[in-house]
Symmetry: C2
Subunit: 114 residues, 2 copies
DNA sequence: ATCAACAGTTCCGAATTTCTGAACTACGGA
DNA sequence: TCCGTAGTTCAGAAATTCGGAACTGTTGAT
């Protein structure tokens, strides 16, 4: 298991953010994380809709979120704690994250916050 | 040439917007269009960076932008006039488009407005 | 120390998507 | 009618995504 890569704030690219959040499943994961005060684990996620997400896909979703700069992942014993980088991100791209989450939120039948 | 499809405002999906604008080339085209008062043609675009975009790719970019709901295309004689749907979009997804354009704008060496 | 269970990652082949040159359609002018 | 221009469609190659199976690393039990 190679060490996890997190881009520095100044290396975060808008296209990576948009790409990462253009997948509704990933956006739902991100929304769910951003509703949590502190870190959440990958497996605590369970199901996000009707579909059960295979764990290799889940792992990949987290990787995309992490490498785009949206989240911070930290191994803690057996599990991985994930949290958003919202505060930093808002500094670099003002209003972006909020507008995106709001856009998804507008729609009926979207992910529950918890 | 089949008729052009444009989604109704209420059918526009956030994931489609994010996806469309997650390609820097498309985002640059959109930014360029949004800097224009009235419609602009596809070929008026010329080059957008160092790379010359093949016309089939360009055509596809415009199609993605159109079908995601970002732009309105209208055939006018021999050419196609394109304009953004910014006003409508801002009503549906407040602040989203502006935040995205700003995010791209933050970066050095991005598309010139004209 | 050895073993088993668990959380998550990596690998790799299949399926899907993207890209773009070439052929094509549509319109306008000479 | 024939030509040039604007843009679209087609089709095959290249790249990306998806997900099952095998693997890594950690903890706790025996």
């Amino acid at each position: 298991m190679r060490p996890l890569f997190h881009p520095a704030l100044e290396d975060i690219r808008p296209e990576a953010i948009l790409y990462a959040l253009s997948d509704p499943e990933r956006a739902a994961i991100f929304a769910w994380l951003s509703g949590a005060g502190c870190g959440r684990t990958c497996s605590a996620l369970g199901q996000l809709g009707e579909r059960v997400i295979p764990k290799s896909s889940l792992s990949n979703h987290f990787k995309v979120l992490r490498e785009s700069g949206l989240i911070l992942s930290e191994r803690q014993g057996i599990e991985m704690r994930n949290q958003t980088r919202c505060a930093e991100l808002d500094e670099r791209f003002p209003g972006l994250i909020k507008a995106i989450l709001t856009a998804y939120g507008e729609l009926p039948g979207q992910p529950k916050a918890d």
